[in-house]
């Protein structure tokens, strides 16, 4: 028996290493459930969960929704484009109105960093951050770590328990990425070495203070790493030009098959999606057998079930 040290999942940096281990170990059990003929357990049948998405999402929203359904929770879905938010209702009012209908947990994606923290201070429900602006995306970091541990342990037939000594490169638009922030905290906690790589304009100044290496040379970084997590260029968050053209970006920082074939070992390729094929990653790499992009999506459901299960256990 064990318990998370937090009541909400807002950021990886709020978690203790034991929390991360607890979530990953619980995900093992749910992964097994997802391989059963009936992929559903009745655990959360008395819980109602609201999925509140103020920003577009395919994977995360479907993954959370499926995780909730696999746990037999009741669900309401809400997206800002079709709601009264357009009429000027504030975030706290919107959520309080939803909670008045007896909702226990809120899964929220919001374009503003810090929105889930604000919410957790003003409302009486468990908050799970499904991405807040450029801040954090904790479940993505957990599923990324889980997928790495699973792939790296594949030869021994058992998922690794940590990432001690594993070299992970996070490549691309670090500046606008919430995935990078959460991943750095999570990977460091599990003992991995992290190098960030991308054009200087897309790597925040002083980021090395998080205990990561920074490189502007893609070839060197790929030669160094065991795992490359490739991030999307987030054009929707870029108000100014950070690089001359997408063509130039993909020339210097795009991952293609020739680059990978020239390496001395086979590295693991990851991407949190959605992929911009031909920009940060070419199709032949994304679809190659060293890519675990679809396993990441599969593991996402198990990770989110684990998070929901453990947090629901803390509800009054």
């Amino acid at each position: 028996m064990s318990n998370l040290s937090v009541k909400h999942l807002i950021a990886i940096k709020d978690l203790q290493p034991e929390d991360v281990q607890l979530i990953l170990n619980t995900a093992d059990n749910f992964k097994e459930v997802l391989n059963r003929p009936i992929k559903r357990v009745p655990t959360l049948r008395d819980i109602t969960i609201a999925n509140i998405f103020f920003e577009n999402s395919t994977r995360t929203r479907i993954s959370f929704e499926l995780a909730e359904k696999r746990l037999s929770a009741d669900i309401i879905n809400f997206s800002s484009s079709s709601s009264s938010v357009k009429k000027g209702e504030t975030l706290i009012d919107t959520v309080n109105n939803i909670l008045a209908m007896k909702v226990d947990m809120v899964v929220m994606r919001h374009q503003s960093p810090g929105a889930p923290v604000l919410l957790s201070k003003h409302i009486d429900a468990t908050i799970i951050n499904a991405g807040d602006g450029t801040h954090e995306h904790p479940t993505q970091a957990l599923l990324d770590a889980y997928s790495m541990m699973e792939k790296l342990g594949e030869k021994s037939g058992k998922r690794l328990n940590d990432l001690k000594g594993v070299k992970v490169a996070i490549i691309g638009d670090i500046l606008h990425s919430r995935v990078a922030g959460s991943n750095i905290h999570c990977l460091k906690m599990l003992g991995a070495e992290v190098t960030l790589c991308g054009p200087p304009t897309l790597i925040p100044k002083h980021i090395a203070s998080m205990g990561v290496n920074v490189s502007y040379n893609l070839k060197e970084t790929l030669e160094w790493c065991d795992v490359a997590n490739i991030l999307r260029i987030q054009l929707e968050r870029q108000d100014i030009k950070f690089f001359p053209s997408l063509r130039e970006y993909s020339l210097y920082y795009g991952i293609n098959k020739e680059l990978l074939n020239a390496l001395s070992k086979e590295i693991i390729i990851m991407h949190p999606g959605p992929i911009n094929r031909g920009v940060e990653i070419t199709s032949d790499v994304a679809d190659s057998k060293q890519s675990i992009i679809l396993q990441q999506v599969e593991n996402g459901v198990a990770i989110r079930m684990a998070v929901l299960y453990l947090l629901a256990g803390r509800l009054d």
Binding site: R36, I38, G313, R314
Partner: protein, 146 residues
């Protein structure tokens, strides 16, 4: 049944295979944590153990094995869990110890090692010589800590 029924189930399987050479007994581990009805009535969430059922349960005669049969709630959740794997021809229950005065649900075991009349302030502890506690095979009635 995870976690404590596994020791007994392994021993029964070994004994049967020695007695009846050539027999095949499908063996699986079942954890019913996610099917329990007392989730959220506890201080902390229960952590699950491994479930590992490698064979098809459809049409099979399944014997659930557990060490101590107490309120019956674990077995109730185990029945739900097992039925999610398929439709067995028959399900029976084998327990080492039956605490017959403490039932919360109408379930009765088919095979019982020993029936014990222990009160709720007592706890029945089963030790196995290979469970890592080093205490050897024994059944104890001890005062409950709660």
């Amino acid at each position: 049944m995870q976690p404590r029924g596994v020791f007994l189930a392994k021993r029964i399987r070994k004994t049967l295979e020695e007695l009846l050479p050539g027999i095949t007994i499908n063996f699986g581990l079942l954890d019913a944590t996610f099917y329990r009805d007392d989730f959220r009535h506890r201080e902390k969430p229960l952590l699950a153990e491994e479930t590992d059922i490698e064979f098809v349960v459809d049409g099979k005669e399944v014997v659930l094995v557990d060490d101590v049969f107490y309120t019956g709630r674990t077995i109730r959740s185990a029945l739900d869990a097992l039925l999610d794997f398929g439709r067995p021809a028959k399900i029976e229950l084998l327990v080492l110890i039956d605490r017959r005065l403490s039932r919360h649900v109408p379930i009765t075991p088919d095979y019982v090692g020993k029936t014990i009349d222990a009160v709720t302030s007592e706890k029945v502890r089963v030790d196995w010589d290979h469970d890592g506690n080093g205490r050897g095979d024994a059944v104890w009635i001890v005062p409950s800590k709660e």
